[in-house]
């Protein structure tokens, strides 16, 4: 496995705080602005970066990420460019883990072997592919693990005790717990319910468990981070980007700055998580 992910999570465990995992859509609204956002994330307090790969038919995403994907595709983003974005980022940052997140078809069309080779060479550490459940492991998961790229699986409230071992079997890097049955950007359920689910997963794995779908504020990040090893924020960042754009969708000076400010606030949330929990 690429070592960045494990190193980052052990360092954070030693520090006694959860990770802030930030999602944004690669190429939204254009390549240069999107790369600038990516570069700004670690200094603003992001510990792990999820780089979204746009897809025309994002079946598990709410309106915010759907529209972000459309902006990005309209701006000419392709999977090759998304990989290039990671490569460009790596020139300046050798430590922050990068996880590509999206849907299978663009990878399938790119070619699985060629994709894994290029992703590894670009410094990508993990993959989250929404429409590849364990039943489809032969497609990408097994080849990725063989190459040393983490395959991060989603566990959901519908993943019952019987199914959990199947979901965990070929998972590496971390486990992504989806906080609710729903699409990205929905309302966050009660943090105490989520805490119970996280503890249940942690009984079955030594991997870090990160929680996402619905986390929008520093306060929520703090509450979720009390039990989870990481907090994933996506739609809130994507919405922040959307609100900074001109009427015809172009980036402004506020685009990168707005994301920085939001991530800084979220980072203060995760940094306060265990303090709050200990009180």
């Amino acid at each position: 496995m690429t070592a960045r992910m494990d190193r980052r999570f052990s360092a954070l465990a030693a520090e006694g705080r959860p990770a802030l995992v930030t999602y944004f859509m690669g190429g939204d609204p254009d390549y240069a602005s999107s790369l600038a956002i990516m570069k700004a994330l670690p200094t603003a307090g992001a510990d792990v970066i999820e780089l979204g790969m746009p897809f025309s038919d994002p079946m598990a995403d709410g309106p915010a990420i759907q529209v972000a994907g459309q902006r990005s595709l309209k701006g000419g983003q392709t999977l090759a460019k998304t990989i290039q974005m990671a490569r460009d980022f790596r020139l300046e940052d050798a430590d922050t883990p990068i996880v590509l997140m999206g849907y299978y078809n663009p990878i399938y069309i790119y070619g699985v072997d060629r994709f894994l080779e290029d992703a590894l060479e670009a410094g990508i550490d993990g993959l989250i592919v929404v429409d590849l459940p364990p039943e489809m492991d032969d497609e990408l998961c097994i080849p990725a693990l063989r190459r040393g790229i983490n395959f991060i699986r989603l566990a959901t409230p519908t993943t019952d005790a019987k199914r959990l071992p199947t979901v965990l079997e070929n998972t590496s890097g971390f486990v992504y717990y989806v906080s609710m049955n729903g699409i990205t950007g929905s309302a966050l359920p009660d943090p105490s319910v989520i805490g119970g689910a996280v503890r249940h997963i942690k009984d079955h794995t030594t991997l870090p468990v990160c929680v996402g779908f619905g986390v929008k504020t520093a306060e929520q990040a703090r509450a979720i981070g009390a039990s989870a090893d990481g907090v994933v924020v996506g739609s809130a960042i994507v919405n922040q980007i959307a609100s900074s754009l001109t009427a015809d969708g172009a980036a402004t000076e506020a685009t990168v700055a707005g994301v920085e400010a939001l991530v800084r606030s979220l980072a203060s949330g995760v940094r306060g998580a265990r303090v709050a929990a200990a009180e």
Binding site: T78, Y103, N105, T159
Partner: protein
């Protein structure tokens, strides 16, 4: 023709992972996976449960009006001067198309699974109407997702669904057609997994849908096979059906797949021609990819982004096709050809005048292929075409194109 991997049969698929060759599978989000496995389990039980089959048969006879007639189109045959043309009259079913066969089957399954809410996607609105109908019949609330473009061009069906008590949710994403409606239905399903049954309207989606929908629609081919044997004492030479997602086509093809002498042709929407992007000929002009839970032929660009496509017929306006058709194409058991908008429109008008049957625009595509092939075939040869739906829903679309004020 290549050998089938299924022991000399073309009817053995899918395998236990839901694959037809490389096609099919279960490409869905984890949230849906337990549901899909449960659905499969319940479907496997129901398939062999005599009680379930009895109820299905009873509703088929008394609610749908099965068997649908097999009709010898004498005047059309004479007009074309070649092969004898028979129609399997699925347009005479309750609600006006073959879609009801599948809906009755799936709602019985939904009931068996204790689900209390039905969702569906629809293109032409025929599946939406059929879903709303069975939901009314079984007293369940029903939400139908329909692309905004289709809401407009299939207005009579939208009204029908509302009368039946369904909620029609227009989908504005993408070009507002069937693909976008399906995305939105999947999002609803992920959000409401506990009480909701997703009634997919065609032989596509994650396993077990392609197999299950096919089995519910195979009643078309089983009846037709018996009826033609009775009428002609032999099997047809050629079976033709229109292909959107592929449910009416696989329904009529499947019982004939192991009859070596029977040729199969699936007709895709050629739209305004295959040169540009304004068509829905997934097999003829697409390539294998993964969408909506299965691997199959898709219209897509070099980056794996799905294209929108176009067809005059809302029911064929889908950039994919059921996985079993992709496989039947690759092994050479069935042939897939495109028919252009204008050819379908001409066929629509011809049938209306010559046989007094107003066909839906979807089977008008199949009919246009019949019109091309029949004259070149011998008078002793037989074509069987699936007349999958009636055209009442399309009169506004056709009227507009023909410049008539309705």
């Amino acid at each position: 023709m290549n050998q089938s991997p299924y022991l000399n049969s073309f009817r053995g698929g899918p395998d236990e992972d839901g694959r037809f060759g490389i096609y099919g599978g279960r490409f869905v989000a984890e949230t849906l996976m337990p549901l899909i496995l449960e659905l499969q389990e319940k479907w496997d039980e129901a398939k062999t449960d005599p009680e379930f089959q009895k109820e299905l048969g009873h509703l088929g006879t008394h609610y749908i009006g099965r068997p649908s007639p097999l009709y010898f189109a004498e005047r059309l045959t004479e007009h074309l001067g070649g092969a004898k043309i028979y129609f399997k009259r699925e347009e005479l079913n309750h609600t006006g198309s073959h879609k009801i066969n599948n809906c009755i089957g799936q709602i019985l399954l939904a009931k068996r699974m204790g689900k209390t809410r039905i969702i569906a996607e629809t293109g032409a609105g025929q599946h939406g109407v059929a879903s709303a109908t069975v939901a009314a019949r079984f007293g369940l609330p029903c939400v139908v997702y329909m692309g905004a473009t289709d809401v407009e061009r299939q207005a009579p069906n939208v009204f029908r669904m509302k009368l039946l008590g369904a909620e029609v949710k227009p989908v504005t994403a993408g070009s507002g057609t069937l693909k976008d409606a399906m995305n939105e239905a999947l999002r609803d399903w992920v959000t409401n997994v506990d009480d909701t049954y997703y009634l997919i309207g065609t032989a596509a989606g994650p396993h077990p849908y392609p197999e299950m929908v096919r089995d519910f629609q195979a009643v078309i081919g089983r009846e037709a096979r018996e009826q033609i044997l009775q009428a002609e004492g032999r099997l047809p030479d050629l079976v033709i059906a229109a292909v959107g997602g592929g449910s009416n086509a696989i329904g009529i093809f499947h019982p004939f797949l192991d009859d070596k002498g029977v040729k199969m042709v699936g007709v895709e929407a050629g739209g305004k021609g295959l040169d540009g992007d304004e068509h829905c000929a997934s097999i003829t002009a697409g390539s294998p990819g993964v969408l909506h839970g299965n691997r199959t032929y898709l219209l897509q660009d070099g980056d794996g982004q799905i294209k929108e496509g176009h067809s005059i017929s809302a029911g064929l306006d889908y950039p994919g096709i059921g996985p079993e058709h992709s496989w039947l194409n690759d092994v050479g058991r069935a042939e897939y050809v495109p028919i252009m908008d204008h050819e379908a429109l001409e066929a629509f008008q011809l049938l209306t005048r010559i046989e007094g049957i107003i066909p839906a625009l979807e089977p008008s595509h199949a009919l246009a292929e019949v019109i091309k092939r029949a004259p070149g075939m011998g008078k002793d040869e037989i074509i069987l075409m699936n007349l999958s739906g009636r055209g009442d829903k399309d009169i506004f679309t056709v009227g507009k194109i023909l410049g008539m004020e309705l």
